[in-house]
């Protein structure tokens, strides 16, 4: 497979590019998290595990329907599957805490769920890491000064499209507007006749589905194993805090910023502390701006 030579070699640009691609994945997962927090004030530590479940669903789907169609189909299957799981999780677990809504309770519940899902997955799927075959056959692409795999490039495009579609949904559709309204001011939304219960379920389902969707991309680019959800969860939280919890636009910016900061920091400062960069950033940001770079949506 011949690939054209690069015009100019630039490590810096390559790392920025790498960062943007990884950042798009962070965005996908973080948006779901921040949406759920914005509307329902739930900090879900098991969010990354939804990505993991999405990846496994995709794996089984592809085993049945292979090839191109299989991969695209698995993205849909994962989103739907995880959406359904999210519905039940919200309805029967988090909803029960509605009356005693302390942050500690919800975080604890989600931590318990996280432990359960991770280890349950290990029991059911086995600890051996698995791969989704690259639908592009491991080809790579050279774009002038940077190169990457075809798969990553396409995942980047898919992520951006998904984010764009979500924004459309939230701005243009009636339901989307209702979600934003609830996020901004729950009581006013109630007064306007919005069915809060329905909005809660819908938000959680959409947020989780996004995570599941992102999980398939994650799983194809990297690998699928039961503990793959932990890192994305922490990164997603870092992104949501960077951008301000509940703030979707903030999450989008935050995701890309984190991605690039990690690759540049890893390249020029220290490879060993690459994973700490996200945390260092949020600590620094929070010390100065307690509600994140773009501020939290105010609630009453």
């Amino acid at each position: 497979m011949r690939a054209p030579r690069r015009l100019v070699e630039s490590l810096f640009l390559q790392q920025v590019f790498n960062g943007l691609i990884v950042g798009s994945l962070y965005c996908l997962i973080a948006i779901g998290l921040t949406m759920i927090f914005g509307v329902m004030r739930i900090s879900n530590f098991a969010h990354g595990d939804f990505s993991m479940l999405g990846a496994y669903i995709a794996l089984y789907f592809i085993a049945v329907v292979s090839g191109w169609f299989g991969w695209i189909g698995s993205l849909v299957a994962a989103a739907i599957g995880v959406g359904i799981i999210g519905f039940f999780v919200e309805r029967f677990l988090f909803r029960r805490l509605l009356t005693r809504w302390t942050d500690i309770d919800i975080i604890m519940l989600s931590i318990g769920l996280f432990i359960l899902l991770e280890n349950g997955a290990r029991l059911v799927f086995g600890p051996t890491p698995k791969m989704i075959p690259d639908p592009f056959g491991n080809t790579s692409v050279n774009l002038l000064v940077v190169s990457t795999s075809t798969l990553r490039l396409l995942s980047f495009v898919i992520s951006c499209v998904a984010i764009f579609l979500l924004q459309l949904f939230l701005i243009k559709t009636k339901v989307g507007v209702a979600i934003r309204a609830t996020s901004q001011n729950r009581n006013a939304a109630l007064l306007m006749g919005i069915n809060i219960s329905f909005i809660y379920s819908l938000t959680f389902v959409v947020g989780s589905a996004l995570a599941g969707f992102g999980g398939v991309l994650y799983g194809t680019i990297f690998a699928i194993f039961p503990t793959m959800g932990a890192m994305p969860t922490l990164k997603a939280f870092a992104v949501t805090i960077l951008g301000g919890m509940g703030n979707i636009r903030g999450a989008i910016f935050g995701g890309f910023i984190l991605g690039v900061a990690e690759t540049l920091g890893g390249n020029y400062i220290s490879m060993q502390y690459k994973n700490a960069i996200g945390f260092i950033m949020i600590i620094l940001v929070l010390l100065v701006i307690p509600n994140g770079l773009f501020g939290e949506k105010q609630r009453t």
Binding site: D103, N119, A276
Partner: protein
């Protein structure tokens, strides 16, 4: 016979049993679990101070544990310092970091604080993994000296290399710390903490400066956790960056929630129960060939939050205590 006069004999009996335990139970493995339980009680109680009594959710607590352990171990290994001195020094070092973490807590709350604490402990964990010249990285520090033997006289010499003897050390410290915590909780300081937990703004209005209390409680909690870490280091005689992992914090958290958040007895019950449960579940692994230990942990945590919010101590208060206590005449 009223309840007061029953109290002291009961306590004496309890103390006697605890002291005699290693002579009754000779199985060294169970003795090992007893030592671990005591250390876990101290660690859990320290976390409970933050989350239960002060409403501060610290998900990076394992960092304090690890800092205490590493400090004491390094002092012993590199400077030849006696572990008895290293013990409080480990706590002191941890409390410095406690202050560091206390400062962000002035302005942050809820999930913001929680994530910051996670970031804090993850960064420290990475430091302990990568600062190889100091900490030997992921290999950890092994060959940590045990507590130096006590010389009571020319002939009487008590080494601390067996589970049984270390048990007595940790038992004494555990009881002492629980006693001090009880005094603290019932003092003016403790009441101020609780009021700050319930309503921070309201407390400020009556002169309780939240910042001061947050700083103090982080300091104390971190000291105790670091102390527990030093105990652990000189008992197991090896430590690794794993001690600072999120998994450790989640373990502590589960113990306190299941035992009963915001009570003195809760961490005790939770720590003992989960230490023994965790080891006991190994037998399921042997027979059924599957590992369900952590799954049970996760389930337990979830069920507790959903159905037994105040843990076992809460159930005691709600259900059992009213049954056994006679109405006052």
């Amino acid at each position: 016979m009223n309840r007061k006069s029953v109290k002291w004999p009961l306590i004496a009996l309890g103390a006697l049993i605890l002291l005699a335990l290693p002579w009754i139970i000779r199985d060294r493995y169970v003795q090992h679990l007893m030592v671990l339980s005591c250390i876990s009680i101290i660690l859990s109680s320290s976390w409970n101070l933050l989350a239960g009594y002060s409403g501060l959710l610290n998900l990076g607590h394992a960092a304090f544990f690890g800092i205490g352990g590493y400090t004491s171990a390094l002092l012993a290994l590199k400077l030849g310092l006696s572990p008895w001195i290293g013990l409080p020094l480990g706590g002191v070092m941890a409390s410095f970091f406690g202050i560091l973490l206390g400062i962000p807590s002035f302005r942050l709350s809820g999930p913001y604080l929680a994530i910051t604490t996670i970031g804090f402990s993850e960064i420290l964990r990475l430091v302990s993994m990568n600062w190889v010249s100091m900490t030997r990285g992921s290999l950890g520090l092994y060959g940590i000296p045990p507590f130096t033997p006590l010389k009571l006289s020319e002939k009487i010499f008590i080494p601390f290399t067996t589970e049984q003897n270390v048990y007595y050390i940790v038992l004494v410290f555990t009881v002492l710390i629980l006693f001090l915590l009880k005094k603290l909780i019932h003092s003016e300081f403790g009441i101020s903490l609780k009021s700050m937990r319930e309503d921070e703004i309201g407390s400020e209005s009556i002169g309780i400066h939240a910042s001061y209390y947050k700083l103090m409680v982080f300091m104390i909690s971190a000291f105790l956790a670091g102390f527990a870490g030093s105990l652990y280091a000189h008992y197991i005689r090896l430590i690794s960056p794993e001690m600072l992992s999120l998994g450790e914090t989640f373990s502590v958290l589960t113990m306190v929630m299941v035992g009963g958040l915001g009570t003195l007895g809760g961490p005790v019950i939770g720590a003992v129960l989960l230490t023994f449960l965790s080891e006991g579940l190994r037998f399921v692994e042997d027979y059924a060939k599957i590992d369900i230990r952590l799954i049970i942990y996760g389930l337990l945590l979830m069920l507790t939050i959903l159905f037994m919010r105040n843990g076992i101590a809460g159930i005691w208060k709600e259900i059992i205590k009213p049954i056994i206590s006679k109405p006052e005449r």
